[in-house]
């Protein structure tokens, strides 16, 4: 009997989420002993595909084939038994357990039902030595720096004798020397016939390690090629669906006076790792400033700092020349700032409240007559905003949960606009919304700017940035690496400035 050509295959796999089709008939196959780079913008479906292959999620339609046989994965355990492992982008270690305990979690080495700690420590030590990282296996995982935690994750996957290993941005927390070690390990795994899926935003790195490249865009597999046949230009082109270098900027507008100025904003994580490093730029009235950067570049942290969510941050924010230092979030909202946060479910909407109550939450003071809320005034304001933003909802008194993602996002925008902000901050405003609503939201953003508002729009999607922004601030590793007018902001220029190595080069300088 002939060995099947592929270890694992996804055939015509689709995944439907409420409101969005995350994967649309994708076929993807892995050969033993090869590294396949999976590339796409945020929201293109990379993580969904990998999660389906790892048994974390089930496809809505389509099938998975392992060693030539159709199978279903019902859980991560199922995948684990079949030799399929995954290293997540977010670390999944239990910080309260030791390194060894984490590595052998749920598969403890036991003697008559009792965990054999000594053998676990021993084997963990050997695994870590193989990774050239002599981390103490009895140390608590939570006490390790991020890079070492990542190594422990990798050791955990290796301890399972995987045949298929998926790595979702494994290097985002690693230093250059740690990456070199990781690449040696990948080479070692390859020679032992392991099939590897590698997701990363560092394009140069991908081309160095990958044998083949698969590009996803809007849930579809748009291109596959051998890594030796392609370059970064090709990748950018396939990712964005537009020839690299062709910018599609909104028409240039006259912008007014400076209304917001950031002066060397810096912020460190709890462990001392810098999240923002001396970020300075300004925003003019009537201008949309795009903030482009990859995951971890510091976009969200920057907007949060402007909103006063990190009182420990250094540097100053000036709104119309007035310093906002020491002001808390409600104070800044009153002063004329408003933010649409990145994660709509977690920090944008309040699921248990009605559409109207969500909309008016930031501006309640406006509807107070003598001592109580005038429900009529509230209703008037909410319905006016609902008409203006063309929010489709069965009624303002219905639960916000009855709205689609795009309309929920518009409600969050309405909430901000009802405070009459001078500057509006938008963090990934179209994440998880359908294409139609996306276009509408972009139009709203342009309209708001045209009316004289200052807008900062942070996004990891090139298209979004280029469809809205007049000026683009590119960030990498917490620092500004370029500020480009829309006309000069080609996809390639943005991708290069956003790459982590650009952030590193800035460090060296």
């Amino acid at each position: 009997m002939k060995e099947p050509e592929f270890i694992i295959e996804a055939r015509n796999v689709s995944r439907q989420y409420p409101g969005t089709l995350a994967l649309d008939g994708v076929s993807f196959a892995l050969r033993p002993g090869t590294v396949t780079a999976l590339i796409g913008e945020n929201g293109a479906g990379k993580s969904t595909l990998v999660r389906i292959l790892a048994g974390i999620e089930r496809p809505t339609s389509g099938s998975l084939v392992l060693d030539g046989e159709t199978m279903t994965l019902n859980s991560v355990r199922d995948a684990d038994v079949r030799g399929i492992g995954i290293i997540h982008q977010e670390l999944n270690l239990c910080p309260n357990l030791s390194v060894a305990e984490n590595i052998f979690l749920a598969r403890e080495i036991t003697v008559r039902g009792v965990v054999d700690k000594r053998r676990q420590l021993q084997q963990a030590r050997e695994l870590l030595a193989r990774l050239e990282h002599p981390i103490d296996p009895s140390a608590l995982a939570g006490d390790l720096p991020l890079g070492q935690q990542q190594i422990v994750e990798i050791a955990k996957a290796l301890s399972r004798n995987v045949r298929v290993l998926m790595m979702d941005e494994p290097t985002s927390a690693l230093s250059a020397s740690e990456i070199a070690i990781l690449f040696r390990i990948i080479g070692d795994l390859k020679s032992r016939g392991v099939a590897i899926v590698y997701i990363s935003h560092r394009l140069e790195e991908l081309l160095e390690i990958a044998d083949s490249v698969s590009v996803l865009r809007d849930g579809r597999m748009v291109a596959e090629a051998a890594a030796c046949e392609v370059d970064t230009n090709w990748i950018v082109e396939k990712m964005t669906g537009r020839p690299a270098g062709q910018a599609q900027a909104p028409e240039a507008r006259d912008t007014g006076n400076q209304i917001l100025r950031l002066d060397s904003l810096s912020l460190n994580a709890a462990g001392g790792r810098p999240l923002l490093r001396g970020v300075s730029f300004d925003v003019r009235a009537g201008e949309v400033v795009g903030i482009y950067g990859l995951m971890g570049a510091g976009r969200t942290e920057l907007l949060e700092c402007i909103m006063g969510l990190h009182p420990e941050a250094a540097g100053s924010v000036y709104l119309e020349s007035r310093p906002l230092d020491g002001m808390d979030t409600p104070g800044r909202i009153a002063a004329g700032l408003a933010m649409v946060p990145e994660d709509r479910q977690a920090s944008g909407i309040i699921q248990s409240m009605t559409v109207r109550a969500n909309m008016t939450l930031s501006s309640l003071g406006r509807y107070v007559r003598t001592a109580w809320l005038s429900l009529a005034a509230e209703d008037r304001a909410a319905s006016a905003m609902s008409t203006e933003l063309r929010i489709k909802c069965p009624g303002l008194r219905y639960s916000i949960a009855s709205l689609s993602g795009g309309n929920q996002q518009k409600v969050v925008m309405a909430k901000c606009l009802l405070t009459n902000p001078r500057v509006l901050l938008l963090d990934e405003p179209t994440r998880g919304v359908d294409v139609g609503a996306k276009r509408e939201i972009h139009a709203i953003v342009r309209r708001l700017a045209a009316s004289g508002m200052g807008v900062i729009l942070a996004s990891s999607e090139l298209d979004e940035i280029r469809a809205t922004a007049g000026r683009i601030v590119v960030m990498s590793r917490g620092a500004v690496t370029a500020i480009l007018p829309a006309a000069e902001a080609t996809a390639e220029a943005l991708v290069v400035a956003a790459s982590p190595s650009a952030g590193e080069r800035r460090d060296a300088a």
């Binding site: 409600p330 946060p341 219905y398 009855s402 909430k415």
Partner: protein
């Protein structure tokens, strides 16, 4: 749609079923005398539960209300019975009755404020913070009276502190004052919850703290005031009980917090916060009160009463979960 209304009105339906059942089974149930006793009992729990509703809506819990009731009763009782002894001066100060009431209410609000500060500023989990203050307030009550009861709180005319007992036994238009107090607290609670920015913000904080904060709600401040309200409501209950008994006992209010939480939950307020209503809580307090009263009239054993109360609470939560799932499905259907 009909199902939706039935779900929403479930506490009221349960109440109606109980009233009809007990009326049919016992001729003594629907009499003016019985109802007055019943509502007076309900009033105690309902006042506590209104304060508790604000705390639970904000996403917290307040276990200290029973102890606060005990403490406030003891403070009032002590001030009326033996006055405030100022040792270095060798004087005993007696306060006017209104001032006594104000001091006891302030003490309850202060314990609530301490809860609020622990929870909103020092980020102690509400369960732990109020468990701690439950013990501290109870201990303070016991220390104040040295474990004894302050009897005979009628006061004396020459000290100018008479009239305290009216709080328990007085009537207006033939209805006992405690019932008026319950109605006033309930009305104020509904108004604050529905028609003030503070009420709206409580719902927001309980529904999604992060989103509320990003929307400009001062989350810490809102939580703080929720506990102050709960503490003041509890102190009022302590005063009413002391006035009804004509004596203040330091063990007053033990396990009252559980009855209050039960009323809130029966009334459809989610223990996760953000969903519920003061009106529902009042109905919940009546369900508990009617159930206890009716079962006594029917001669059901006290032990069975406890079992039945427990079952009703669990049933209420199951119904609540069913309603939530139903609401989610309805919302999902609207999205399409």
């Amino acid at each position: 749609m009909i199902l939706d209304y039935l779900f929403r009105l479930r506490a009221l339906i349960v109440l109606a079923v109980l009233v009809i059942t007990f009326t049919a089974l016992s001729p003594a149930f629907l009499t003016a005398g019985n109802l007055t006793i019943l509502v007076k009992h309900v009033a105690i729990n309902a006042i506590l539960a209104v304060g508790m509703t604000f705390v639970i809506l904000s996403g917290g819990i307040d276990l200290s209300v029973g102890s606060i009731a005990g403490l406030s009763g003891i403070i009032a009782g002590g001030l009326i019975h033996s006055g405030l002894v100022l040792h270095p001066l060798g004087v005993i100060v007696y306060f006017h009755t209104w001032l006594v009431v104000a001091i006891a209410l302030a003490a309850g609000a202060a314990v609530g404020a301490a809860n609020g500060l622990l929870i909103s500023q020092l980020r102690v989990a509400p369960f732990i913070a109020t468990l701690g203050s439950m013990y501290v307030a109870r201990g303070a009550a016991l220390l104040t009276s040295n474990g004894a009861t302050f009897p005979n709180l009628s006061g004396s005319p020459e000290l100018g502190n008479t009239g305290f007992l009216l709080l328990g036994s007085g009537t207006y238009l033939g209805i006992p004052l405690p019932i008026w107090l319950m109605l006033a607290i309930a009305a104020a609670g509904v108004f604050v919850a529905v028609r003030t920015p503070f009420g709206r913000r409580i719902y927001a904080v309980g529904g999604n703290e992060k989103a509320a904060e990003l929307s400009g709600v001062r989350v810490a401040r809102i939580k703080f005031w929720a506990y102050v309200i709960s503490g003041a409501c509890a102190a009022l209950v302590g005063l009413v009980i002391a006035a009804q008994l004509g004596a203040a006992h330091p063990a007053t209010g033990e396990t009252f917090e559980l009855n209050a939480i039960a009323a809130v939950v029966l009334g459809g307020t989610s223990l996760m916060g953000g969903r519920g209503s003061v009106g529902g809580t009042i109905i919940g307090a009546f369900v508990i009160g009617v159930l206890a009263d009716g079962l006594i009239l029917l001669g059901v054993s006290e032990f069975w009463q406890i079992v039945i109360k427990g079952l009703v609470i669990v049933l209420a939560v199951i119904l609540d979960q069913m309603q939530q799932r139903y609401a989610l499905r309805a919302a999902a259907a609207l999205r399409r």
